[in-house]
């Protein structure tokens, strides 16, 4: 049985001043899917995330979230359905990790009094990102990678079913890249989450993503299954880089090896 369509992007175009940044982007993803967004720097990936998020307004086209235009949701209702992890870690003041992750509960909280079951969501989010041991630490005293995990935990604590992540693994070491993506993937498999993530690592995309959207200069070069979208031809077209695609004979996984460009 096919799952519901969670996110539908209908022919979205966007421009800053006059320069068109996104042209006619259209795709949809279903509940539980893990979608990667890839493309050269400045190809419009973050802009697209912000339009989905509703912080930028598309010039043309519409975003539908769970069957309704995203802009028709009141802010808190939208936050219950969709959460976001940005590229930059902020918060220059010494919140503890637990306090920071608890901020993810904001859309669920009543102004006076807490809803029952709330600490559980925070606890779960910390466990999923392997940051339970950091709970009492000050966020400001953490390493870059630890901060990244905590920020992802905050978004998970929001318990929305669509997660938008802007380069979620960029500060993480190899172990935690796999660990965090695996947690997200498991949430997707259980149907609890749907992920849209800007990613640059072809191999991580190949390992974890169900679908991929390849952007170049604001246009969608391709959208579909990873094996269909990411190949020698499309990589050369999008990035101008020659990539060798190999298949692991044991696991069947596809790997990408970039070739050194001519001097």
């Amino acid at each position: 049985m096919e799952r519901n369509i969670v996110l539908q992007v209908n022919n979205v175009s966007f421009a800053y001043e006059r320069a068109l940044v996104l042209k006619n982007i259209a795709f949809s993803i279903r509940q539980g899917e893990f979608m990667a967004l890839i493309g050269p720097n400045g190809s419009g990936k973050t802009t697209l995330l912000k339009i989905i998020l509703g912080t930028l307004i598309a010039r043309e086209g519409e975003i539908w979230l769970d069957g309704k235009p995203v802009l028709s949701y009141p802010p808190k209702e939208r936050a219950k359905k969709m959460s976001y992890v940005s590229q930059q870690a902020v918060a220059g003041f010494p919140l503890t990790v637990e306090e920071l992750v608890s901020l993810g509960r904001y859309p669920h909280e009543e102004r006076f009094g807490r809803k029952p079951g709330e600490p559980q969501a925070v606890e779960d989010a910390l466990r999923l990102t392997d940051s339970l041991p950091l709970k009492e630490r000050k966020f400001t005293a953490l390493s870059g990678g630890e901060k990244q995990k905590v920020l992802i935990a905050r978004a998970l604590a929001q318990t929305s079913y669509l997660l938008l992540l802007d380069e979620p693994t960029v500060h993480l070491d190899l172990y935690f890249q796999l660990q965090v993506l695996n947690s997200l993937k498991r949430l997707c498999a259980e149907g609890k989450s749907t992920v849209v993530a800007v990613m640059h690592d072809l191999n991580l995309i190949s390992l974890f993503a169900d679908k991929v959207l390849l952007l170049k200069s604001g246009e969608a070069l391709a959208f579909g299954k990873v094996s269909e979208v990411l190949n020698e031809g499309s990589m050369e077209e999008a990035f101008g880089v020659k990539v060798a695609v190999t298949e692991d004979s044991q696991t069947g996984a596809v790997y990408y090896l970039p070739r050194k460009p001519p001097p």
Binding site: P75, S86, F93
Partner: protein
Amino acid sequence: MRRFFLSWAILFVFFSLSLFLALSTGPVRISLFALSARDQSILLNLRLPRALSSFFVGGGLALAGAVFQGLFRNPLADSYLLGISSGASLGAAAALVLGFTSPLAMFTGVSFFSFFGSLLALSLVFYFGSRDGYFSVFRLLLSGLGVGLFFSSLVAVLMIMAEEELKALIFFFMGGFSSASWETAWLAIAFVPICVLIAFYYARELNVLLLGEETALSSGVSTKRIQAIYAVLAAFLTSVSVSVAGLIGFVGLIIPHMVRMAFGADHRILLPFTFLLGGTFLVLCDTIAKMVLAPSELPIGVVTSLFGVPIFLYLLKKERGEYDL
């Protein structure tokens, strides 16, 4: 958690103690437990308005500082950064030098025009700091810097024009409560508590805003509205404080940091504690200011720095690197 309640208890003891000291000290010896009619008049018409003024001004300035720092996510932000104080100074200078009198009987000339001047500065800062109805915090900071500098130069012009008013003007710049009366105190007593309640009410939203605007927006906070409410609120608190007591530095910048170092950055705890500590601190400083060289008084700014800075520097040194500076 025990430390937290203990701190509140200690602060309350200090608060009561400082209030008691403020009411029982002064040029005339009176006993709070055996009041003559004259003593009663001194207590009710001089010391009580003075103590309440210093409490609400101190609390208001500290709270405004905490709000600005949180709002701009900048540890150096305080209420004087947005040019508000320059507006107030200009108003006060105009009232003194050009002899403007207050059109409203419930204000003195200086307090009316310094209040008016600070509100004028505030609206100019927001006018130049916004674009298409939105403002960014940095745009606002730059606009505040510009407006502040411009007003300061006008103040300088007025100071050159001043003759015997110069002393009163300098008195205003140094700040203090020696001329406190109900005539000025009511402003602080009426407006500061309202601002305080509004500030507490949105503390959670201010917490989420620490994550940055985009993340806050994605968490369901109406960021522009919350930022506007807090910016106006903190600027208004500054206006009230300045028009009641002149320019008093240190409290707005340092007190919030002291509280943050002790209890962290959660505004639901930070804001109330900062308010109470700021108020208590200024009541205490004012009492010291009038006691040390009695019958003459020390400028309160001297006392706040003399006592506050060592405590602050001690905390800064002791801090374990969790404070991201």
